[in-house]
């Protein structure tokens, strides 16, 4: 046989599927902010890193129950997103788009080094041992299952918010036409701030889920940042469905190649696949070009 029914292979596939949920969540937040404000937060994953530290200190140092800590974290990182928008993005809204991108690059430096200065370079984790489920010979990490479910729930909530509420409708409208909406009486400033809050909150949610699976350290962003950017570019910046599909594709590539080789090679393969896809299916990328 091709080894396709190998139990390890199936396990890696399933693992990749679960990992894809968290990647999709990350890509979703970045896509939302880009779609509405037309800004890429290069420091997005660093916001997640701060959320992970928040979880660590709340849960380990202050003994806050996990769920409460998670809620505080989601709100906190959401506020961080608002702060980022008001302090850095807002003064730059009228300038060349690349300036906004570079400014968030500066924030990336700032957040990384602020974490180094404040928390040191030690690896920290919550010390929660979640059970591993066994399903006909396959082992499934409960942390991943939980992360997948929570990520999915977060996405459904966001969908309902965008589809059913007045502010959500305004957000979608601005994403479609940035010039007309102010004329229709929508306060873009407010919508941008709400969007930043949600974008940050999604990063906060991702941080609560990732902290269960990974140690936190100032450079943890480097593990997720490249893959998140590849996902949003492949899906088409601002295109949420595209990002969703790309997230699962890349998570599978990383997970399956991690089975046979080192994890780093998974990232390298994902990049190779990405380059090939760019040649073969550029329309996927051109869905919303600027």
């Amino acid at each position: 046989m091709l080894g396709i029914f190998d139990v390890y292979f199936l396990e890696a596939l399933l693992d990749g599927f679960l990992l894809g949920g968290v990647f999709a969540l990350l890509a979703l937040g970045l896509n939302l902010v880009f779609g509405v404000i037309d800004v890429v937060w290069i420091c997005y994953v660093e916001l997640v890193m701060f959320g992970m530290y928040g979880m660590y200190f709340l849960y380990v140092a202050y003994q806050v129950p996990f769920l409460l800590a998670a809620l505080i974290c989601i709100a906190g990182v959401g506020l961080l997103g608002v702060l980022l928008h008001v302090l850095v993005i807002q003064p730059l809204l009228g300038t060349a788009p690349i300036n906004q991108l570079l400014a968030t690059g500066g924030v990336l430096f700032l957040l990384q080094s602020a974490a180094t200065v404040m928390f040191g370079v030690d690896f920290r984790n919550l010390g929660i041992r979640l059970p591993v489920l066994e399903l006909s010979g396959m082992y499934i990490s409960f942390a991943r299952l939980l992360a997948f479910a929570a990520a999915l729930a977060g996405m459904v909530l966001l969908y309902l918010f965008l589809a059913r509420t007045y502010v959500g409708t305004a957000i979608r409208a601005i994403a479609q036409d940035r010039q007309i909406m102010p004329l229709m009486g929508v306060d873009t400033r407010r919508v941008y701030i709400v969007t930043s809050l949600i974008g940050g909150a999604l990063a906060g949610l991702a941080s609560c889920l990732l902290v269960l699976q990974y140690d936190v350290q100032p450079f943890v962003g480097l593990t997720f940042a490249p893959i998140t950017f590849l996902i949003v570019v492949l899906g088409g910046l601002g295109n949420m469905i595209g990002g969703f599909v790309a997230a699962f594709l890349f998570a599978e590539i990383i997970s399956v190649s991690g089975l046979y080789l080192d994890q780093e090679w998974g990232y390298v393969f994902a990049f190779a696949v990405f380059v090939v896809l760019m040649f073969v299916r550029p329309q996927g990328l051109l869905a919303r070009r600027s």
């Binding site: 990336l108 910046l237 080789l261 990232y267």
Partner: protein
């Protein structure tokens, strides 16, 4: 007098190591010159709105290819460096061609190239059996220490002169690009790609030209850096941090002026060294904290950079070519 000034400056720079031989200041000067060349290489394409965050990758390719060829096959850097530049060129074409062909610009391009620099770092880390991974890598010392064949020199004076030559060469390339047809084509593309294409500019080819030039220069810089420091690690020559550092220093100095990247390198390296001396080993993180804050402030309040703003103040009416 104005004509004479650059020549006097150049003569003073060349004469410096013959009169002044203090090791530490010379070391700092060499680093400033090498990084000035790196930033100038980046600015060759960066000034045309092609904001690449993948140059850390090219620098890493240059440094690691040269060092690996020397250690494993004893291939002299005289051959290794051109091969490294060729490798960087190949990667630049492989990534650049689809980008330019399918009109991936702005945010897309920046994010894509950002991923490239991260991937080069991942490859170096993944092939740790060969490259030493994140522990870094050292080219073998040639017996006897200094050797033109191995491009290894023990004394700082020689390296200073080499770095000076490399830096001047970088300025010359940028100066020539600024006065070439390529510049007009690329400026037209920056303004409006469709209009430029309609006017007969081959958008993909022109962008590829400048990208390949910039990538090859950066790979060269990586190799020179490796030969000078005799130690490279993924964090110092590749990855996102190095790429962002290139953008940052160039923006601080002034992207649109010839000596902007040089000023940027001078300011940032002196800043790092000062912070290092002030804080001692406690400086870990502080220098980047200042970096990041300054970068954000600069982009908001002084997007033309230090030198750019000063020149704009001095010559408000004249158009500045370089």
């Amino acid at each position: 007098m104005n004509r004479l000034l650059p020549w006097v400056g150049a003569a003073a720079l060349v004469a410096l190591p013959f009169v002044y031989r203090e090791a530490y200041p010379l070391h700092i000067l060499i680093l400033i010159l090498i990084w000035s060349f790196v930033y100038t290489s980046w600015s060759v394409m960066g000034r045309f709105g092609l904001v690449s965050l993948g140059h850390g990758g090219f620098m890493g390719i240059g440094a690691y290819t040269t060092a690996l060829l020397w250690n494993y096959w004893h291939l002299s850097p005289w051959l290794g460096i051109p091969l490294a530049m060729l490798a960087a060129t190949a990667v630049a074409v492989l990534i650049g061609y689809p980008c330019f062909r399918f009109r991936i610009t702005g945010h897309y391009f920046a994010l894509l190239t950002l991923a490239l620099s991260a991937i080069v770092l991942q490859v170096v880390t993944a092939t740790r059996d060969v490259t030493g991974g994140s522990l870094g890598y050292t080219p073998e010392r040639y017996e006897g220490g200094s050797s033109i064949y191995a491009v290894q020199f023990l004394d700082k004076e020689t390296w200073y002169l080499i770095a000076l030559g490399v830096w001047a060469f970088g300025l010359l390339i940028r100066y020539r690009v600024d006065r070439s047809m390529l510049r007009y084509a690329l400026e037209a593309i920056t303004e409006d790609e469709d209009a430029a294409a309609a006017a007969g500019v081959h958008v993909t080819v022109e962008k590829l030209k400048v990208t390949v030039l910039s990538a090859a220069m950066t790979a060269f810089a990586g190799a020179i850096y490796c030969q000078y420091q005799m130690f490279i690690s993924p964090d110092t020559v590749s990855g996102i941090a190095v790429s962002l550092q290139m953008v940052f220093a160039t923006v601080v100095g002034g992207l649109y002026v010839l000596l902007g990247p040089t000023l940027g390198a001078t300011v940032t390296i002196l800043l790092t060294e000062t912070l290092r001396i002030w804080f001692g080993t406690g400086a870990v993180g502080w220098d980047n904290l200042v970096y990041g804050t300054l970068l954000v402030l600069f982009i908001i309040f002084l997007p033309q950079g230090l030198l750019g703003s000063v020149l704009a103040r001095l010559t408000p009416a004249r158009t500045r070519a370089g």
